[in-house]
Symmetry: C2
Subunit: 245 residues, 2 copies
Amino acid sequence: MARNLARILGGCGSLVPFMKTPACPPRNSSSIPPARTLVMLFSKSRDFSLPNSSWGEEMMRLYEFYNGQSDVETEGEENQGREWKRLPSYNRSLKYATGGVYLSKIIQSKARLFTRNIREPGAAFEYVLFINKEKERCVCVFQAGHLLEGPPGHVHGGAIATMIDTVTGTHASAISAPVMTANLNIDYRSPIPLGSTVLIESTLEKTEGRKLYISCKVTSTDGSKRHTDATALFVSISVAHLLKG
Amino acid sequence: MARNLARILGGCGSLVPFMKTPACPPRNSSSIPPARTLVMLFSKSRDFSLPNSSWGEEMMRLYEFYNGQSDVETEGEENQGREWKRLPSYNRSLKYATGGVYLSKIIQSKARLFTRNIREPGAAFEYVLFINKEKERCVCVFQAGHLLEGPPGHVHGGAIATMIDTVTGTHASAISAPVMTANLNIDYRSPIPLGSTVLIESTLEKTEGRKLYISCKVTSTDGSKRHTDATALFVSISVAHLLKG
């Protein structure tokens, strides 16, 4: 398995362009990396949900607020019992990347996660998600960049839908992975100015068999302005379902 | 007015990077372009709904099918009475660009229309819209690029929502501009593989005062596979509404 993976990989740059350089073995290395090394390569991909220079004051304030109440992941140690946990975010769907049917497709492909496909910090979607321990709530701090325009000076309705799908979908996946979006119902109440930071809150309403019903709201960071309300329905699936298309 | 515009503009490159070079006056020109010239600059922006080298066979076939049934816009001439009309697509919301309150904001801003913010042809949203003469139907041929990924190998639910908002919103605008999205309700039935071409059809169901009710479906190009169903509600607004935020 490791040998086949190494042949497909042919150097890690093509797969994970945002990977930190020290994690990438030299191209001319004669040793074939074992499967464990490959897993490590994936885990060293850039985590886009960490602060960068484009994050404004409000984005940083809210990140620090929730991060201060979050467990820090440390291998082999127990959770510190805090209320929240920050969720990392990469520019691929990496859940199948450590094995399984999609591995070769992922390695060969130039595909990038829609919300993380722009390299310039701050230009598009800047966001970080926190999930609470009991997994009944998820909160996302979202800063909308200048490439997300719809109505002049305001965020595109599709970009808002994208963030709602991302937050509620990540929430559903944390409860019952993998899932697919079955329905999104979005009420747009007040436009979001480009450049502003908003809060997106996702709440699990109920589960019925393979179905997860989630509600979601987008508000100003002080909660005084309701921008968007939404409900989302997700269905747990098998990987075979996705293969069928 | 023209003098102020010229000062804000300071060279057209920052505003319309996709503009054809011959339309852009030299930076060191001592003459201040009159308002008419500025209008011309906007009208010479790149039209993204024309074929490029990334368009696959299916995209080109359907473009030619609808384009062959469309009127060609020629100044001062009457419509040829054909069934469809192709709608151009730029990388800004240009409707306020020839005057009005948003002019200086647009000129100074780096903002780009969400669906047209990637320079590499074929990497993200490739699409062309046609509207029928009575404006009760709109059809969009959409080719999904590799930067739109959600589930591995498939289009992100948010990218599909973005195209539905774009097609139904463009349709609503053609009937009653300007409009804002009030509701999107989307049923995801079958995932769309990255790289594939699909048809998005928008139908006006009814109008009630300032409200426009539109239905939408996303299918395979032969109509045999239903990927997505949606309804959309738009509300006619005044520009003052958008200014209030």
